[in-house]
Protein backbone atom coordinates (compact mmCIF):
# COMPACT_ATOMS: atom_id res chain seq x y z
CA UNK A 1 0.00 0.00 0.00
CA UNK A 2 2.64 2.50 1.14
CA UNK A 3 5.03 1.53 -1.65
CA UNK A 4 2.26 1.86 -4.20
CA UNK A 5 1.26 5.30 -2.99
CA UNK A 6 4.89 6.35 -2.91
CA UNK A 7 5.24 5.26 -6.52
CA UNK A 8 2.06 7.05 -7.49
CA UNK A 9 3.09 10.32 -5.84
CA UNK A 10 6.51 10.10 -7.47
CA UNK A 11 4.64 9.63 -10.74
CA UNK A 12 2.68 12.81 -10.14
CA UNK A 13 5.86 14.67 -9.26
CA UNK A 14 7.60 13.29 -12.37
CA UNK A 15 4.84 14.50 -14.68
CA UNK A 16 4.72 17.97 -13.17
CA UNK A 17 8.52 18.04 -12.87
CA UNK A 18 9.08 17.26 -16.54
CA UNK A 19 6.62 20.02 -17.40
CA UNK A 20 8.68 22.45 -15.32
CA UNK A 21 11.90 21.33 -17.03
CA UNK A 22 10.39 21.78 -20.48
CA UNK A 23 9.12 25.20 -19.43
CA UNK A 24 12.62 26.15 -18.26
CA UNK A 25 14.04 25.11 -21.65
CA UNK A 26 11.39 27.11 -23.50
CA UNK A 27 12.13 30.28 -21.55
CA UNK A 28 15.91 29.88 -22.03
CA UNK A 29 15.40 29.25 -25.74
CA UNK A 30 13.52 32.53 -26.13
CA UNK A 31 10.26 30.83 -27.14
CA UNK A 32 8.22 33.48 -25.34
CA UNK A 33 10.10 36.56 -26.53
CA UNK A 34 7.71 37.74 -29.20
CA UNK A 35 4.25 36.35 -28.63
CA UNK A 36 2.30 38.38 -31.17
CA UNK A 37 4.62 37.29 -33.99
CA UNK A 38 4.68 33.68 -32.79
CA UNK A 39 0.93 33.37 -33.25
CA UNK A 40 1.47 33.98 -36.98
CA UNK A 41 3.95 31.13 -37.51
CA UNK A 42 1.22 28.91 -38.98
CA UNK A 43 0.69 31.37 -41.84
CA UNK A 44 3.05 31.93 -44.75
CA UNK A 45 3.26 33.74 -48.08
CA UNK A 46 1.07 31.08 -49.69
CA UNK A 47 -1.67 31.11 -47.11
CA UNK A 48 -1.32 34.54 -45.48
CA UNK A 49 -3.34 36.00 -42.63
CA UNK A 50 -6.77 36.91 -43.96
CA UNK A 51 -7.15 33.93 -46.31
CA UNK A 52 -9.76 31.34 -45.31
CA UNK A 53 -8.57 27.84 -46.22
CA UNK A 54 -11.63 25.60 -46.02
CA UNK A 55 -15.18 25.42 -47.30
CA UNK A 56 -17.93 23.03 -48.32
CA UNK A 57 -17.36 21.46 -51.74
CA UNK A 58 -19.72 22.63 -54.47
CA UNK A 59 -20.33 22.11 -58.15
CA UNK A 60 -20.80 25.77 -58.92
CA UNK A 61 -17.76 27.87 -59.60
CA UNK A 62 -17.37 30.74 -57.16
Amino acid sequence: MTAGILLLVSGLVFLSGSALLAFYWAVRDGQFNNLSESAKTIFDADEPVGTPTDRFPSNTRP
Binding site: A3, I5, S16, A39, F56, P57, P62
Partner: protein, 493 residues
Protein backbone atom coordinates in the same frame (compact mmCIF):
# COMPACT_ATOMS: atom_id res chain seq x y z
CA UNK B 1 15.77 15.56 -46.87
CA UNK B 2 18.28 12.74 -47.19
CA UNK B 3 16.91 9.42 -46.10
CA UNK B 4 18.86 8.00 -43.22
CA UNK B 5 18.66 5.12 -40.80
CA UNK B 6 16.70 5.28 -37.59
CA UNK B 7 19.90 4.92 -35.57
CA UNK B 8 21.57 7.88 -37.21
CA UNK B 9 18.45 9.99 -36.68
CA UNK B 10 18.60 9.24 -32.99
CA UNK B 11 22.38 9.58 -32.62
CA UNK B 12 23.01 12.76 -30.61
CA UNK B 13 26.40 13.16 -32.32
CA UNK B 14 24.72 13.74 -35.68
CA UNK B 15 24.01 17.39 -36.31
CA UNK B 16 20.45 17.79 -37.59
CA UNK B 17 20.49 19.14 -41.09
CA UNK B 18 17.23 21.02 -40.87
CA UNK B 19 17.65 23.90 -43.23
CA UNK B 20 16.00 22.38 -46.29
CA UNK B 21 12.83 24.19 -47.12
CA UNK B 22 9.68 22.40 -48.17
CA UNK B 23 6.44 23.33 -49.82
CA UNK B 24 3.38 22.79 -47.68
CA UNK B 25 1.87 20.43 -50.26
CA UNK B 26 5.06 18.38 -50.25
CA UNK B 27 4.92 18.04 -46.46
CA UNK B 28 1.24 17.06 -46.58
CA UNK B 29 1.88 14.47 -49.28
CA UNK B 30 4.69 12.89 -47.28
CA UNK B 31 2.28 12.04 -44.45
CA UNK B 32 -0.27 10.34 -46.72
CA UNK B 33 0.24 6.64 -46.10
CA UNK B 34 0.60 6.53 -42.30
CA UNK B 35 -2.12 9.13 -41.73
CA UNK B 36 -4.63 7.39 -44.02
CA UNK B 37 -3.82 4.05 -42.36
CA UNK B 38 -4.64 5.49 -38.95
CA UNK B 39 -7.77 7.30 -40.20
CA UNK B 40 -9.09 4.33 -42.15
CA UNK B 41 -8.71 1.87 -39.30
CA UNK B 42 -10.09 4.44 -36.85
CA UNK B 43 -13.27 4.80 -38.89
CA UNK B 44 -13.65 1.02 -39.08
CA UNK B 45 -13.41 0.76 -35.29
CA UNK B 46 -15.79 3.70 -34.92
CA UNK B 47 -18.48 1.69 -36.71
CA UNK B 48 -17.76 -1.43 -34.67
CA UNK B 49 -17.74 0.59 -31.45
CA UNK B 50 -21.02 2.34 -32.30
CA UNK B 51 -22.80 -0.98 -32.78
CA UNK B 52 -21.34 -2.39 -29.55
CA UNK B 53 -22.42 0.76 -27.70
CA UNK B 54 -25.90 0.70 -29.17
CA UNK B 55 -26.49 -2.91 -28.17
CA UNK B 56 -25.13 -2.26 -24.66
CA UNK B 57 -27.41 0.77 -24.31
CA UNK B 58 -30.54 -1.19 -25.24
CA UNK B 59 -29.58 -3.99 -22.88
CA UNK B 60 -29.94 -1.50 -20.02
CA UNK B 61 -33.69 -1.25 -20.69
CA UNK B 62 -34.27 -4.61 -22.41
CA UNK B 63 -32.10 -7.14 -20.55
CA UNK B 64 -33.44 -10.02 -22.65
CA UNK B 65 -31.98 -8.55 -25.84
CA UNK B 66 -29.48 -10.95 -27.50
CA UNK B 67 -29.05 -13.04 -24.37
CA UNK B 68 -28.01 -16.66 -24.43
CA UNK B 69 -24.45 -16.27 -25.70
CA UNK B 70 -21.72 -15.50 -23.17
CA UNK B 71 -19.87 -13.11 -25.47
CA UNK B 72 -23.05 -11.08 -26.03
CA UNK B 73 -23.62 -10.34 -22.33
CA UNK B 74 -23.55 -6.76 -21.07
CA UNK B 75 -20.45 -7.42 -18.96
CA UNK B 76 -18.46 -8.08 -22.13
CA UNK B 77 -20.14 -5.85 -24.71
CA UNK B 78 -19.94 -2.69 -22.64
CA UNK B 79 -16.14 -2.83 -21.98
CA UNK B 80 -15.70 -3.92 -25.60
CA UNK B 81 -17.59 -0.75 -26.65
CA UNK B 82 -15.50 1.47 -24.38
CA UNK B 83 -12.16 0.06 -25.49
CA UNK B 84 -13.10 -0.01 -29.18
CA UNK B 85 -14.03 3.66 -29.23
CA UNK B 86 -11.18 4.76 -26.95
CA UNK B 87 -8.28 2.87 -28.49
CA UNK B 88 -9.65 1.79 -31.86
CA UNK B 89 -11.33 5.02 -32.92
CA UNK B 90 -10.39 8.05 -30.81
CA UNK B 91 -6.72 7.28 -30.16
CA UNK B 92 -6.01 6.18 -33.73
CA UNK B 93 -7.77 9.24 -35.19
CA UNK B 94 -5.83 11.41 -32.74
CA UNK B 95 -2.52 9.82 -33.73
CA UNK B 96 -3.32 10.42 -37.42
CA UNK B 97 -4.13 14.08 -36.80
CA UNK B 98 -1.05 14.36 -34.57
CA UNK B 99 1.26 12.96 -37.25
CA UNK B 100 -0.02 15.40 -39.87
CA UNK B 101 0.17 18.36 -37.47
CA UNK B 102 3.66 17.43 -36.30
CA UNK B 103 4.99 17.36 -39.86
CA UNK B 104 3.37 20.70 -40.66
CA UNK B 105 4.48 22.39 -37.44
CA UNK B 106 8.05 21.09 -37.68
CA UNK B 107 7.96 22.29 -41.31
CA UNK B 108 9.77 19.20 -42.61
CA UNK B 109 8.65 16.24 -44.72
CA UNK B 110 7.79 13.19 -42.71
CA UNK B 111 10.79 11.06 -41.82
CA UNK B 112 10.79 7.32 -41.12
CA UNK B 113 7.30 6.64 -42.37
CA UNK B 114 8.02 2.89 -42.00
CA UNK B 115 8.18 3.42 -38.24
CA UNK B 116 4.70 4.93 -38.32
CA UNK B 117 3.32 2.25 -40.62
CA UNK B 118 4.65 -0.36 -38.19
CA UNK B 119 3.02 1.63 -35.38
CA UNK B 120 -0.33 1.56 -37.22
CA UNK B 121 -0.08 -2.21 -37.74
CA UNK B 122 0.84 -2.87 -34.12
CA UNK B 123 -1.91 -0.52 -33.01
CA UNK B 124 -4.65 -2.33 -34.89
CA UNK B 125 -3.29 -5.72 -33.94
CA UNK B 126 -3.35 -4.67 -30.27
CA UNK B 127 -6.92 -3.37 -30.49
CA UNK B 128 -8.07 -6.48 -32.39
CA UNK B 129 -6.49 -8.90 -29.91
CA UNK B 130 -7.76 -6.81 -27.00
CA UNK B 131 -11.38 -6.68 -28.18
CA UNK B 132 -11.41 -10.41 -28.94
CA UNK B 133 -9.92 -11.00 -25.48
CA UNK B 134 -12.67 -8.99 -23.81
CA UNK B 135 -15.42 -10.75 -25.77
CA UNK B 136 -13.81 -14.11 -24.94
CA UNK B 137 -14.11 -13.30 -21.24
CA UNK B 138 -10.56 -12.17 -20.46
CA UNK B 139 -11.56 -8.60 -19.51
CA UNK B 140 -9.50 -7.34 -16.59
CA UNK B 141 -12.43 -5.47 -14.98
CA UNK B 142 -10.27 -2.39 -14.48
CA UNK B 143 -12.06 0.54 -16.04
CA UNK B 144 -10.27 1.91 -19.16
CA UNK B 145 -7.72 -0.92 -18.90
CA UNK B 146 -9.95 -3.89 -19.68
CA UNK B 147 -7.65 -5.17 -22.42
CA UNK B 148 -6.09 -8.45 -21.26
CA UNK B 149 -2.39 -8.55 -20.40
CA UNK B 150 -1.49 -10.17 -23.73
CA UNK B 151 -2.88 -7.21 -25.72
CA UNK B 152 -1.42 -4.22 -23.88
CA UNK B 153 2.27 -4.78 -24.76
CA UNK B 154 1.34 -4.71 -28.48
CA UNK B 155 -0.26 -1.30 -28.00
CA UNK B 156 2.71 -0.13 -25.98
CA UNK B 157 5.11 -0.96 -28.82
CA UNK B 158 3.00 1.27 -31.05
CA UNK B 159 2.99 4.12 -28.51
CA UNK B 160 6.76 3.82 -28.17
CA UNK B 161 7.33 3.99 -31.94
CA UNK B 162 5.25 7.16 -32.14
CA UNK B 163 7.10 8.71 -29.19
CA UNK B 164 10.49 8.00 -30.81
CA UNK B 165 9.26 9.41 -34.12
CA UNK B 166 8.05 12.60 -32.39
CA UNK B 167 11.49 13.19 -30.91
CA UNK B 168 13.22 12.65 -34.27
CA UNK B 169 10.85 15.06 -36.03
CA UNK B 170 11.45 17.70 -33.37
CA UNK B 171 15.22 17.32 -33.72
CA UNK B 172 15.05 17.81 -37.47
CA UNK B 173 12.48 20.62 -37.46
CA UNK B 174 13.17 23.83 -39.28
CA UNK B 175 14.24 26.48 -36.78
CA UNK B 176 11.74 28.90 -35.40
CA UNK B 177 8.99 29.18 -32.91
CA UNK B 178 7.42 26.06 -31.39
CA UNK B 179 3.70 26.66 -31.95
CA UNK B 180 1.32 25.96 -29.07
CA UNK B 181 -0.24 22.95 -30.84
CA UNK B 182 3.20 21.36 -30.94
CA UNK B 183 3.50 21.65 -27.16
CA UNK B 184 0.15 19.93 -26.72
CA UNK B 185 1.25 17.12 -29.03
CA UNK B 186 4.44 16.65 -27.03
CA UNK B 187 2.41 16.31 -23.86
CA UNK B 188 0.32 13.62 -25.53
CA UNK B 189 2.95 11.66 -27.44
CA UNK B 190 5.72 11.74 -24.85
CA UNK B 191 3.83 11.43 -21.56
CA UNK B 192 1.19 8.96 -22.53
CA UNK B 193 3.39 5.91 -23.33
CA UNK B 194 5.00 6.36 -19.95
CA UNK B 195 1.62 6.68 -18.23
CA UNK B 196 0.26 3.62 -20.02
CA UNK B 197 3.30 1.52 -19.13
CA UNK B 198 3.21 2.58 -15.46
CA UNK B 199 -0.47 1.78 -15.07
CA UNK B 200 -0.08 -1.62 -16.74
CA UNK B 201 2.98 -2.55 -14.67
CA UNK B 202 1.33 -1.55 -11.39
CA UNK B 203 -1.96 -3.29 -12.17
CA UNK B 204 -0.99 -6.32 -14.24
CA UNK B 205 2.62 -7.41 -14.02
CA UNK B 206 3.53 -6.31 -10.50
CA UNK B 207 0.09 -5.56 -9.06
CA UNK B 208 0.12 -3.38 -5.99
CA UNK B 209 -2.28 -4.34 -3.24
CA UNK B 210 -5.48 -2.99 -1.81
CA UNK B 211 -7.11 0.32 -2.43
CA UNK B 212 -3.92 1.72 -3.99
CA UNK B 213 -5.00 -0.23 -7.08
CA UNK B 214 -8.01 2.05 -7.33
CA UNK B 215 -5.69 5.05 -7.09
CA UNK B 216 -3.55 3.82 -9.98
CA UNK B 217 -6.65 2.96 -11.99
CA UNK B 218 -8.17 6.44 -11.72
CA UNK B 219 -4.88 8.25 -11.99
CA UNK B 220 -4.52 6.50 -15.35
CA UNK B 221 -8.14 6.73 -16.48
CA UNK B 222 -8.37 10.44 -15.85
CA UNK B 223 -5.00 11.13 -17.44
CA UNK B 224 -6.14 9.35 -20.60
CA UNK B 225 -8.47 12.32 -20.94
CA UNK B 226 -6.17 15.01 -19.61
CA UNK B 227 -2.80 14.02 -21.02
CA UNK B 228 -3.85 12.22 -24.17
CA UNK B 229 -7.24 13.19 -25.63
CA UNK B 230 -7.50 16.78 -24.37
CA UNK B 231 -4.02 17.83 -25.62
CA UNK B 232 -4.54 16.25 -29.06
CA UNK B 233 -8.00 17.82 -29.37
CA UNK B 234 -6.74 21.24 -28.27
CA UNK B 235 -3.69 21.00 -30.55
CA UNK B 236 -6.05 20.48 -33.46
CA UNK B 237 -8.41 23.31 -32.40
CA UNK B 238 -5.52 25.75 -31.89
CA UNK B 239 -4.35 25.01 -35.43
CA UNK B 240 -7.63 24.60 -37.32
CA UNK B 241 -9.60 27.59 -36.03
CA UNK B 242 -6.97 30.25 -36.89
CA UNK B 243 -5.95 28.47 -40.10
CA UNK B 244 -9.47 28.05 -41.48
CA UNK B 245 -10.61 31.61 -40.84
CA UNK B 246 -7.19 33.07 -41.62
CA UNK B 247 -6.70 34.96 -38.39
CA UNK B 248 -4.03 34.38 -35.71
CA UNK B 249 -5.09 33.24 -32.23
CA UNK B 250 -6.62 36.14 -30.29
CA UNK B 251 -4.15 36.03 -27.41
CA UNK B 252 -1.13 33.86 -27.89
CA UNK B 253 -0.10 34.66 -24.33
CA UNK B 254 -3.29 33.03 -22.99
CA UNK B 255 -2.73 29.95 -25.13
CA UNK B 256 0.72 29.48 -23.60
CA UNK B 257 -0.62 30.06 -20.08
CA UNK B 258 -3.38 27.53 -20.79
CA UNK B 259 -0.95 24.85 -21.91
CA UNK B 260 1.43 25.17 -18.99
CA UNK B 261 -1.29 25.27 -16.36
CA UNK B 262 -2.86 22.14 -17.89
CA UNK B 263 0.55 20.45 -17.84
CA UNK B 264 0.99 21.29 -14.16
CA UNK B 265 -2.49 20.54 -12.78
CA UNK B 266 -4.06 17.81 -14.83
CA UNK B 267 -2.03 14.83 -13.67
CA UNK B 268 -3.30 15.42 -10.10
CA UNK B 269 -7.00 15.15 -11.01
CA UNK B 270 -7.67 11.40 -11.02
CA UNK B 271 -8.33 10.81 -7.31
CA UNK B 272 -11.53 12.84 -7.42
CA UNK B 273 -13.15 9.64 -8.70
CA UNK B 274 -12.51 8.18 -5.24
CA UNK B 275 -14.36 10.79 -3.16
CA UNK B 276 -15.91 8.90 -0.25
CA UNK B 277 -13.75 5.83 -0.89
CA UNK B 278 -11.49 4.02 1.64
CA UNK B 279 -8.55 6.18 0.76
CA UNK B 280 -6.20 8.75 2.37
CA UNK B 281 -8.26 11.94 2.61
CA UNK B 282 -5.32 14.21 1.75
CA UNK B 283 -4.88 12.59 -1.65
CA UNK B 284 -8.53 13.07 -2.49
CA UNK B 285 -8.39 16.66 -1.22
CA UNK B 286 -5.27 17.44 -3.30
CA UNK B 287 -7.08 16.08 -6.31
CA UNK B 288 -10.22 18.12 -5.67
CA UNK B 289 -8.07 21.26 -5.41
CA UNK B 290 -6.31 20.42 -8.69
CA UNK B 291 -9.69 19.78 -10.32
CA UNK B 292 -10.87 23.24 -9.36
CA UNK B 293 -7.55 24.70 -10.56
CA UNK B 294 -8.45 23.34 -13.99
CA UNK B 295 -10.65 26.41 -14.32
CA UNK B 296 -7.49 28.30 -15.35
CA UNK B 297 -6.48 26.29 -18.45
CA UNK B 298 -10.12 25.77 -19.43
CA UNK B 299 -11.12 29.41 -19.20
CA UNK B 300 -8.01 30.56 -21.09
CA UNK B 301 -8.87 28.18 -23.95
CA UNK B 302 -12.52 29.27 -23.92
CA UNK B 303 -11.73 32.99 -24.01
CA UNK B 304 -9.11 32.48 -26.68
CA UNK B 305 -11.22 30.46 -29.09
CA UNK B 306 -14.24 32.67 -28.62
CA UNK B 307 -12.27 35.87 -29.21
CA UNK B 308 -10.52 34.38 -32.26
CA UNK B 309 -13.90 33.46 -33.71
CA UNK B 310 -15.55 36.79 -32.87
CA UNK B 311 -16.75 38.46 -36.04
CA UNK B 312 -16.10 35.23 -37.98
CA UNK B 313 -19.04 33.13 -36.87
CA UNK B 314 -20.47 33.43 -40.39
CA UNK B 315 -17.59 31.19 -41.45
CA UNK B 316 -19.38 28.26 -39.77
CA UNK B 317 -21.72 28.30 -42.75
CA UNK B 318 -19.06 27.55 -45.34
CA UNK B 319 -16.42 25.50 -43.55
CA UNK B 320 -17.13 21.91 -42.50
CA UNK B 321 -13.89 21.78 -40.53
CA UNK B 322 -14.76 24.90 -38.58
CA UNK B 323 -18.26 23.69 -37.84
CA UNK B 324 -17.07 20.47 -36.21
CA UNK B 325 -14.07 22.09 -34.53
CA UNK B 326 -15.99 24.97 -32.98
CA UNK B 327 -18.69 22.58 -31.75
CA UNK B 328 -15.91 20.56 -30.12
CA UNK B 329 -14.11 23.57 -28.66
CA UNK B 330 -17.31 24.91 -27.09
CA UNK B 331 -18.06 21.48 -25.67
CA UNK B 332 -14.55 21.36 -24.20
CA UNK B 333 -15.37 24.39 -22.05
CA UNK B 334 -18.71 22.93 -21.03
CA UNK B 335 -17.44 19.45 -20.22
CA UNK B 336 -14.42 20.73 -18.29
CA UNK B 337 -16.41 23.12 -16.11
CA UNK B 338 -18.93 20.33 -15.55
CA UNK B 339 -16.05 18.04 -14.59
CA UNK B 340 -14.65 20.52 -12.09
CA UNK B 341 -18.09 20.92 -10.52
CA UNK B 342 -18.48 17.14 -10.31
CA UNK B 343 -15.33 17.02 -8.16
CA UNK B 344 -16.96 19.18 -5.47
CA UNK B 345 -17.65 16.55 -2.78
CA UNK B 346 -21.16 17.74 -1.77
CA UNK B 347 -22.38 17.50 -5.39
CA UNK B 348 -20.42 14.33 -6.05
CA UNK B 349 -22.47 12.63 -3.29
CA UNK B 350 -25.56 12.84 -5.47
CA UNK B 351 -24.22 12.03 -8.90
CA UNK B 352 -21.59 9.37 -8.15
CA UNK B 353 -22.58 5.98 -9.64
CA UNK B 354 -25.44 7.48 -11.69
CA UNK B 355 -25.99 7.97 -15.44
CA UNK B 356 -24.86 11.58 -14.99
CA UNK B 357 -21.26 10.31 -15.15
CA UNK B 358 -21.96 8.39 -18.37
CA UNK B 359 -23.35 11.60 -19.88
CA UNK B 360 -20.23 13.49 -18.81
CA UNK B 361 -17.93 10.86 -20.36
CA UNK B 362 -19.78 11.01 -23.69
CA UNK B 363 -19.84 14.79 -23.68
CA UNK B 364 -16.05 14.78 -23.32
CA UNK B 365 -15.12 11.97 -25.67
CA UNK B 366 -17.75 12.59 -28.30
CA UNK B 367 -18.95 16.19 -28.02
CA UNK B 368 -15.42 17.49 -27.59
CA UNK B 369 -12.83 15.07 -28.89
CA UNK B 370 -14.62 13.11 -31.59
CA UNK B 371 -16.17 16.24 -33.12
CA UNK B 372 -12.75 17.92 -33.29
CA UNK B 373 -11.31 14.80 -34.93
CA UNK B 374 -14.11 14.83 -37.54
CA UNK B 375 -13.31 18.48 -38.27
CA UNK B 376 -9.59 17.79 -38.63
CA UNK B 377 -10.18 14.78 -40.91
CA UNK B 378 -12.38 16.92 -43.18
CA UNK B 379 -9.46 19.35 -43.49
CA UNK B 380 -6.62 16.85 -43.83
CA UNK B 381 -7.89 14.13 -46.19
CA UNK B 382 -8.42 16.34 -49.32
CA UNK B 383 -4.84 17.55 -48.90
CA UNK B 384 -3.53 13.99 -48.79
CA UNK B 385 -5.46 12.43 -51.66
CA UNK B 386 -5.82 15.54 -53.85
CA UNK B 387 -9.56 15.01 -54.16
CA UNK B 388 -12.57 17.02 -53.04
CA UNK B 389 -15.19 15.67 -50.62
CA UNK B 390 -17.87 14.29 -52.94
CA UNK B 391 -20.96 15.75 -51.29
CA UNK B 392 -21.55 18.85 -49.21
CA UNK B 393 -24.99 17.61 -48.21
CA UNK B 394 -23.59 14.38 -46.83
CA UNK B 395 -21.17 16.38 -44.69
CA UNK B 396 -24.14 18.42 -43.42
CA UNK B 397 -26.04 15.22 -42.64
CA UNK B 398 -23.03 13.89 -40.77
CA UNK B 399 -22.72 17.08 -38.76
CA UNK B 400 -26.37 17.34 -37.75
CA UNK B 401 -26.78 13.63 -36.97
CA UNK B 402 -23.72 13.76 -34.72
CA UNK B 403 -24.48 17.12 -33.12
CA UNK B 404 -28.16 16.42 -32.43
CA UNK B 405 -27.46 12.81 -31.43
CA UNK B 406 -24.84 13.64 -28.84
CA UNK B 407 -26.86 16.57 -27.46
CA UNK B 408 -29.94 14.39 -26.91
CA UNK B 409 -27.81 11.64 -25.38
CA UNK B 410 -26.04 13.92 -22.90
CA UNK B 411 -29.17 15.85 -21.87
CA UNK B 412 -31.11 12.61 -21.30
CA UNK B 413 -28.35 10.96 -19.29
CA UNK B 414 -27.70 14.08 -17.22
CA UNK B 415 -31.33 14.61 -16.20
CA UNK B 416 -31.91 10.89 -15.69
CA UNK B 417 -28.72 10.64 -13.65
CA UNK B 418 -29.65 13.50 -11.34
CA UNK B 419 -33.13 12.05 -10.69
CA UNK B 420 -31.51 8.68 -10.08
CA UNK B 421 -28.99 10.27 -7.70
CA UNK B 422 -31.67 11.92 -5.59
CA UNK B 423 -33.55 8.62 -5.49
CA UNK B 424 -30.36 6.82 -4.31
CA UNK B 425 -30.06 9.39 -1.57
CA UNK B 426 -33.65 8.95 -0.36
CA UNK B 427 -33.85 6.12 2.21
CA UNK B 428 -37.58 5.62 1.51
CA UNK B 429 -36.89 4.68 -2.13
CA UNK B 430 -35.64 1.13 -2.71
CA UNK B 431 -32.72 0.57 -5.07
CA UNK B 432 -35.03 -1.29 -7.45
CA UNK B 433 -37.44 1.63 -7.73
CA UNK B 434 -34.60 4.16 -8.03
CA UNK B 435 -33.84 2.57 -11.41
CA UNK B 436 -37.33 3.40 -12.66
CA UNK B 437 -36.42 7.09 -12.58
CA UNK B 438 -33.65 6.50 -15.11
CA UNK B 439 -35.48 4.13 -17.48
CA UNK B 440 -37.30 6.63 -19.77
CA UNK B 441 -34.07 8.62 -20.14
CA UNK B 442 -32.18 5.45 -20.98
CA UNK B 443 -34.64 4.74 -23.78
CA UNK B 444 -34.04 8.25 -25.18
CA UNK B 445 -30.29 7.59 -24.92
CA UNK B 446 -30.72 4.36 -26.87
CA UNK B 447 -32.61 6.21 -29.61
CA UNK B 448 -29.93 8.90 -29.82
CA UNK B 449 -27.42 6.12 -30.50
CA UNK B 450 -29.15 5.44 -33.82
CA UNK B 451 -28.56 9.06 -34.86
CA UNK B 452 -24.87 8.78 -34.04
CA UNK B 453 -24.52 5.46 -35.86
CA UNK B 454 -26.27 7.01 -38.89
CA UNK B 455 -23.80 9.91 -38.87
CA UNK B 456 -20.87 7.51 -38.69
CA UNK B 457 -22.13 5.48 -41.64
CA UNK B 458 -22.41 8.68 -43.72
CA UNK B 459 -18.88 9.61 -42.65
CA UNK B 460 -17.49 6.17 -43.50
CA UNK B 461 -19.07 6.32 -46.98
CA UNK B 462 -17.57 9.78 -47.58
CA UNK B 463 -14.14 8.67 -46.43
CA UNK B 464 -14.21 5.55 -48.63
CA UNK B 465 -15.18 7.66 -51.64
CA UNK B 466 -12.27 9.99 -50.93
CA UNK B 467 -9.65 7.28 -50.61
CA UNK B 468 -10.87 5.51 -53.75
CA UNK B 469 -11.45 8.86 -55.49
CA UNK B 470 -15.01 7.94 -56.39
CA UNK B 471 -17.48 10.56 -57.54
CA UNK B 472 -17.59 13.30 -60.12
CA UNK B 473 -14.73 15.72 -60.40
CA UNK B 474 -15.38 18.93 -58.53
CA UNK B 475 -13.85 22.27 -59.31
CA UNK B 476 -10.73 21.33 -57.40
CA UNK B 477 -9.62 19.95 -54.09
CA UNK B 478 -10.46 22.03 -51.03
CA UNK B 479 -6.84 23.00 -50.68
CA UNK B 480 -7.05 25.10 -53.82
CA UNK B 481 -10.52 26.51 -53.22
CA UNK B 482 -11.22 29.98 -52.00
CA UNK B 483 -14.60 31.16 -50.77
CA UNK B 484 -16.49 33.30 -53.25
CA UNK B 485 -17.25 36.96 -52.59
CA UNK B 486 -20.80 36.15 -51.51
CA UNK B 487 -19.47 33.57 -49.09
CA UNK B 488 -16.98 36.06 -47.73
CA UNK B 489 -19.67 38.64 -47.08
CA UNK B 490 -20.92 36.70 -44.11
CA UNK B 491 -17.48 37.09 -42.62
CA UNK B 492 -16.65 40.37 -40.97
CA UNK B 493 -12.95 41.00 -40.59
Amino acid sequence: MKSQSLISSLNPANEPDSLDSFERAEIDASTKLPVLLFFGSAIFWLLVGSVLGLVSAWKMTHPGLLDGEAWLTFGRLRPAHLNTVIYGWASAAGIGVGIWLTARLCRVVLMHSKLLIAAAIFWNLGVFVGILGILAGDSRSIEWLEFPGYATPILFVSYAFIGIWTIIMFRYRRPGHVYVSQWYLFAAFLWFPWLYATANILLTWQPIQGSAQAAVNWWFAHNVLGLWFAPIGLASAYYMIPKVIGRPVHSYYLSILGFWSLALFYSWNGMHHLIGGPFPAWMVSASVVASIMMFIPVVTVAINHHMTMRGHFGALKWSPTLRFTVFGAMTYTLVSLQGSSMAIPSWNTFIHFTDHTIGHAHLGLYGFFTMIMFGAIYYIVPRLVGWEWPSANMIRWHFWLSAVGISIMVIALTIGGILQGFAFYDPTVSFRSSLDYATPFRIVRGLSGFLLLGGHIVFAVLFTQMVLRIGQIKEGPALFAKPSESQKEGVAV
